[in-house]
Symmetry: C2
């Protein structure tokens, strides 16, 4: 049966919704695909549900091809498993929490690692049961601080989340690769260009992770890539450490007065004026900037950390958050400085004429970490920890030693890729999928062990693999539209063909009915605009807004035995004979 | 691709789950269909998900046939619309409530009348847009006080809920009938015997309502039916009021001493001993029992109400709850009596020698309602409102008048059906569907009006129609099983055929593979037990537990060119030639 617009539950809107910040949100609401219920929470109208079902079908088919079995978990889950992994707390305000009538704690699951782990623990006991990959397509919840951009970042959203279970690391590699391959097939079928970038496993606590990004200038994520094939998101980029330099023969540190130079800029000016080099001017990169950060560890302890990095770099907070997780990180406050008089603000450095100032072994006891570029033998201009004094020729590995290396400086175009594949460029993209090697974190926390070949209990290693179904729908809408409306790719279009009958001539409607029947006979899904008293202009406008890829117009031409086939994407209109519509679409 | 048990996510269990109270719960868990996550909250394993999908497909097809369009609402909804209809409060503890990070109130929807109403208000504006029927298949939440019986009464459950919108009462009748017809088709396709009974619209606030019950002695609902075709659930049964009797000529009331007769039983004994009738003994039905109930109205006001009914009847609380809704009802407590000294406990009656005692116009002001059988001219033995005194020949309509009629006495086999179709019998059933004519309650509360033919705003009239998908799955499992396991009807079986290869002979597995391929070629869905090192006994046991309707066994017979086709329901086993399996199944 064709879907007839005369009685379909659809109203297109002339006005953009007031709260729409992005094109996909604006068009999906105007064209009658979705409707807002609360911030970040949407109802799906018939057209939207059809597109969603098509994306789900593609994902299901490729999950099956990857050997994954479908299950379905509740959204409402008890607190306990999330307590064990500490995510009940770590998720912070993003977790929807509630209590039942007995006062037991529950959550609306943002992701299901814990309960998948417990399910396998519940049912499986031997290495012979593995490998196993299971997945679900399910509605998830995340209480975003600022739900925005329509479906791109909702508070209720549909995800495909898959989980793999293996006895060995090699097994995990195979399961991971199978999901990764499935993702490539899914995005290819969806017509979504993608880049696979190295990602930081971050809060998921895993060992290896990659993101699928759709590259687009309007993307909210930044990633780096080299012409030689390296790609990583900014959080996962690893700065290439240069070779260490010889220490021997380098001049001794020289402390000098540097009045009123609390910033890198003023310091560089000062040394160029008063301590000029003969070979070239001093650059900011010659200075060592010592940034004081305050970490709040789970449990609440606050710790100051000083990070030394070349003076031309800044801390990139997203990278710092990942590097210091699960601690929270922020710039040190005045009150932090007040509690640590050893830090002479504006003139901080790891060394002073009286000895080491920073580091766990120093008098201050403050942890001192350095950027990977601060290798042994590099000489720096930096603070002498005395008011309005700096020091020249302070050599790493001779005059100071760090407690460790931390890679949280900003990444710039031209930085070398860590794999030697050349300088990187920065680009923007939208996350469309994420694959994680979780390793044994969840299995250990929740006690998922099976008997191995030798009859000994071995902890299972896991992977987790997510695709945001509703997010992908929005991204496709974001990419495929023009000023008239949506333009769906055939694979996910709500219908294959939109037949429009215009005018009042009964013969036109009869011809349209015959064409609709023929198309359905040829297994096309047809939306038929049979509305009797609606003007051709309104019908065409609706067709353009709704965005079915092929539109067939039956109008005055019917008298001459022809209709028009209109390609929504190219705008091209072709006259075809009444009985040649199926052939024209197939051709 | 066939589903191979060697790598399917399935474990059958030998032991019944400790918390399983009913057969369906026990078998669905043991056979690997579902797994408990929290009280009344389940995860769906691959087998269970397949059965659920088949039920959903049947429901979707019949909803389409009924002209309903599918939409999908969130489970997480804002408080406001439910506040407007007062259901935020009325739902009481059964509603899961939560707050987001900003402190806004949300609920997990138990049913979606409010937001469907608002959606149509949002998009539609004219009578020309109507009628409209829309539905969803969606996960709902109800915080049951005692979640039990597995999927039969869960706290998270999948429902099909449809809503109709019409401009006129006649339109509503048509939409209601279309859904009712769809339900008949659905239950027929599911092989579920059903009785359609008149129901009370109750808390949904509607004007007409029917329940689809599956009649079974283990059902939790009681309904009544007559041989003449009347059927109603107990809450909706209407007691047939007898004809009024002439008052003229009846003897005047006689007050008599009745020491120590606070119960109907002691009163009947007393009058038979001291006030004997000449024609027959006194019966309990000759006495008027005055039951004191306490109502708590929304808002908290507590009101005492006295209900007079024949002394052989008791108040049926389920009927009283419906009759007095939205007030809550319970028996009056000692403290209630203490506050109303006008009520002489054990000797309460509407009249005393000093005048009327009960009724809004009486000295006590206590509302007095009577059973429909207490018609004018009936004479009663009842309390005289004096300690250890009763009265004879108290005639309704002469000596006392009630404030109204209330039909809350228990229903008994032999009571006359209200439509004159003869005496009723009582039976038990399980609710499998419910259709409501909501009328204009929700549209009025939420302001859903459209322009009518005359250009005037008219309030829309609505219907609501529910089927519990997961509940029905459980009911089918409850009805179709034996001591070995489940026995699915073909329409909802997870697979059409379960092929079992037994032994170690490679030729057997090769033959099984060929049969599986042939079956799939003939579009059968096949579960193939290809496990290499599992005994035939275990395989047969699993096949019986899982309950696929047809089992094909490839074993030693393969050498002689035969396999066995085993009918799970009848237990019948038939030998068929290797290349005759498809023919045998089709035959």
């Amino acid at each position: 049966m064709p879907t007839r617009l005369s009685n379909y539950f659809l109203r297109t809107l002339r006005e953009d919704p007031a709260d729409a910040e992005v094109t996909s949100h604006r068009l999906l609401v105007r064209a009658g695909y979705i409707r807002r219920q609360a911030p970040g929470v949407f109802a799906w109208l018939p057209l939207g549900l059809r597109v969603k079902a098509k994306i789900e079908r593609i994902v299901r088919e490729e999950m099956e091809n990857a050997g994954a079995h479908e299950v379905h978990f509740p959204a409402l889950l008890p607190r306990e498993p999330y307590e064990v992994t500490n995510r009940w707390t770590e998720y912070g305000e993003a977790l929807f929490r509630l209590q039942d009538r007995k006062g037991s704690d529950y959550l609306l699951a943002p992701t299901h690692e814990e309960v998948f782990t417990l399910l396998v623990k519940d049912l499986y006991s031997s290495y012979k049961d593995l490998p196993l990959s299971i997945y679900q397509i399910q509605d998830k919840y995340r209480d975003e601080a600022r739900p925005r951009a329509g479906l791109l970042r909702g508070r209720e959203f549909t995800m495909k989340d898959a989980y793999s279970f293996d006895i060995s690391d090699e097994g995990l590699d195979v399961s991971y690769q199978a999901q990764r391959d499935a993702y490539e097939r899914i995005f290819t079928r969806l017509g979504l260009e993608y880049v696979i970038v190295k990602a930081d496993a971050g809060a998921m606590g895993g060992s290896k992770s990659e993101e699928f990004l759709h590259p687009t200038p309007v993307g909210e994520d930044t990633f780096v890539r080299s012409a030689g094939g390296y790609a990583a998101n900014v959080e996962a980029f690893e700065t290439l450490a240069p070779e260490a330099l010889p220490i021997e023969g380098q001049p001794a540190p020289i402390v000098f007065d540097s009045p009123n130079t609390p910033t890198i800029l003023s310091l560089v000016d000062h040394v160029n004026d008063h301590q000029a080099r003969t070979d070239r001017p001093w650059h900011a990169a010659d200075t060592l900037k010592n940034v004081v950060l305050a970490l709040t560890h789970p449990g609440g302890t606050r710790e100051l950390v000083v990070v030394g990095m070349p003076g031309d770099r800044d801390v990139e907070m997203k990278r710092a958050e990942v590097a210091f997780a699960p601690a929270e990180v922020e710039a040190a406050t005045e009150s932090d400085f007040a509690k640590h008089p050893a830090l002479v603000k504006g003139y901080i450095g790891p060394w002073s004429p009286e000895g080491p100032v920073l580091g766990e072994e120093s008098t201050s006891g403050i942890r001192f970490l350095v950027d990977p570029r601060v290798v042994d033998g590099t000489a720096w201009v930096t603070g002498a920890n005395l008011h309005e004094k700096h020091v020249l020729s302070l050599v790493a590995g001779r005059d100071f030693t760090a407690d460790g290396v931390v890679d949280i400086a900003d990444v710039r175009a031209g930085d070398p890729a860590p794999d030697g594949s050349g300088p990187v460029e920065l680009a923007r993209g939208m996350e469309i999928g994420h694959v994680f090697q979780l390793g044994r974190k969840y299995a250990e926390a929740l006690g998922l062990k099976v008997l191995d070949e030798n009859g000994k209990l071995a902890t299972v290693t896991m992977g987790s693999y997510g695709i945001g179904i509703t997010r992908i729908l929005a991204i496709i809408a974001e990419l495929h539209n023009d000023d008239k409306g949506l333009i769906w790719p055939a694979a996910v279009a709500p219908f294959d063909v939109h037949v429009v009958a215009t005018g009042k001539d009964e013969a036109v409607f009869e011809a349209a009915e015959r064409i609709v029947a023929e198309l359905e006979g040829a297994r096309y899904e047809v939306l038929y605009d049979d509305r009797p008293k609606v003007s051709p202009g309104v019908k065409f406008g609706d067709a353009e807004l709704i965005g079915v890829p092929k539109i067939v117009i039956a109008g005055r031409g019917v008298a001459d035995g022809v209709v028009e086939v209109w390609d929504r994407a190219t705008g091209e209109r072709t006259q075809v004979p009444l009985d040649g519509v199926v052939a024209a679409l197939q051709g």
